[in-house]
């Protein structure tokens, strides 16, 4: 393989109790590129995404087989500390979830937990992260106001800034724009396009057009299986599997 792979799954199966949610998935995700996971509700795409930063660990009855690799290292090995893993792998959720604190404190939250208290470091991190998240210009004069006063789209970019503040290498996004209006959505999408120069991004989306616009690669999931994974332009112009074709053209079921 000539391209470098940041994340990979080898023969991964996962269960919630008796429910077999992920069925024998093998996949490798390219570094500094955007991969979109698409598929109908309940197909396992979010479950699969959450495996990459061990978000399923504390769910009762959850069981995993196979390997999830970050930089060729199995992140489910006993010696891996989850808090260390999450410094590498940031996550952004569907609903913006800023803490009820100031904008500034939201961004530096991760650093404070790590024990960083130097004012200069914190200030620099806030500016860098907010700039990366394309929010700086809008909030630079009100950094010490409550984050909850921001609009939904701004809150979501703040959550992205918060994830970027701890300098991860991977960014997982679970429907990051589905609760936003079209203008905020475009901002998030343009942001993803910018960020992929520096980060490996995986995005789960119900919006097929969004997958088309932002991703380099797309993986289509169905009933816990990975049906097709290819370059986005290939998948959207000439999918190999009939099921993929039916899904993306809206002729499903």
């Amino acid at each position: 393989m000539s391209k470098s792979y940041k994340l990979a799954a080898n023969d991964v199966n996962a269960w919630y109790g008796d429910f077999h949610a992920i069925k024998g998935i093998n996949i490798a995700l390219e570094e500094k590129a955007v991969t979109a996971f698409i598929g109908p509700s309940g197909c396992g795409k979010s479950t699969f995404l959450r495996l990459f930063n061990r978000m399923n660990d504390y769910i009762d009855g959850f069981r995993l087989e196979g390997e999830i690799l970050l930089d060729q290292k199995n992140i489910y090995k006993k010696d891996v500390r989850v808090d260390e893993l999450r410094k590498e792998v940031g996550m952004v959720f569907q609903k913006p979830n800023p803490f009820p604190k100031t904008i500034f404190e939201n961004v530096v939250y991760g650093l404070r937990i790590q024990g960083v208290s130097k004012k200069k470091v914190l200030e620099e991190t806030v500016e860098r992260s907010l700039k990366q998240a394309a929010l700086w210009e809008e909030v630079k004069d009100k950094l010490h106001k409550s984050a909850l006063a921001l609009s939904g789209g701004q809150q979501q970019r703040l959550c992205i800034a918060r994830a970027l503040a701890i300098e991860p290498t991977v960014l997982l996004m679970d429907e990051p724009a589905s609760a936003l209006d079209p203008i905020s959505t475009t901002k998030i999408e343009d942001l993803i396009y910018e960020l992929k120069n520096q980060y490996t991004i995986v995005i789960v989306t119900h919006n097929m057009q969004q997958a088309g616009r932002v991703s380099d690669h797309t993986a289509f999931f169905l009933s816990g299986e990975l049906v097709e994974h290819s370059k986005t332009k290939t998948l959207f112009t000439s999918p190999k599997d009939k099921r993929t074709q039916n899904y993306i053209t809206g002729r499903f079921g």
Partner: protein
Amino acid sequence: MPHIDIEIEKLKKKLMEMWDLVEFQLEQGREAMRKADPEISKEILKLGKKVNNYDVKIDRMCENFFALFTPVAVDLRTVLAILKINANLERIGDTAEGIAAFVKKLEGTLSPELIEKVQVEVMYDEALKMFDDCRAAFMYNDADLAKELIKRDHVLNKIYRKSDEIVVSYLEGEPDKIKEGLVLLSIIKKLERVGDQVSNIAEEIIFYKDAEIVKHKKNKEKR
């Protein structure tokens, strides 16, 4: 720049590269005709392959763009226009190759007297100028220039319509030059096609800029 604009710029850039190539073919066609040079003709014909590759590539890029960006409004019209302009450019390239193929049939340079009478060089220069202006209209989204181009097509049509009679009467006096006369008429016919193809492109520019449909209108209505 928003991502969608970056992608549209890529498409336009690719189209401009193809435009350069086709313009080169057309310009060389004029040289080949003037010197009756089969070597230049060969070069023009050889470039055809490259133009075809661009044609396929741009079609492909447009297809991907539609699939990935589901464009609307001006974005949609722009890419539809690029798709059609691409097809017309490819045909202008073919036309230049057609001219090259006719030049290869020439056994010597065209008679200066005949060239003067039928005004083929005037026609060729106007076709080249129209093609060049058409590029400017596209690059600067200049619908007014595009409309003007459609009107200028009549200059070529006029020379074309008169050419039969002029060549026939010339050949009556020079019966041994029948072959030369036929080649010249064929080239003139090709140049008349270039005018039509440039007009088609101009119509697409007006369409994407102003969402106005001017094709199939009578010339007088194309203001």
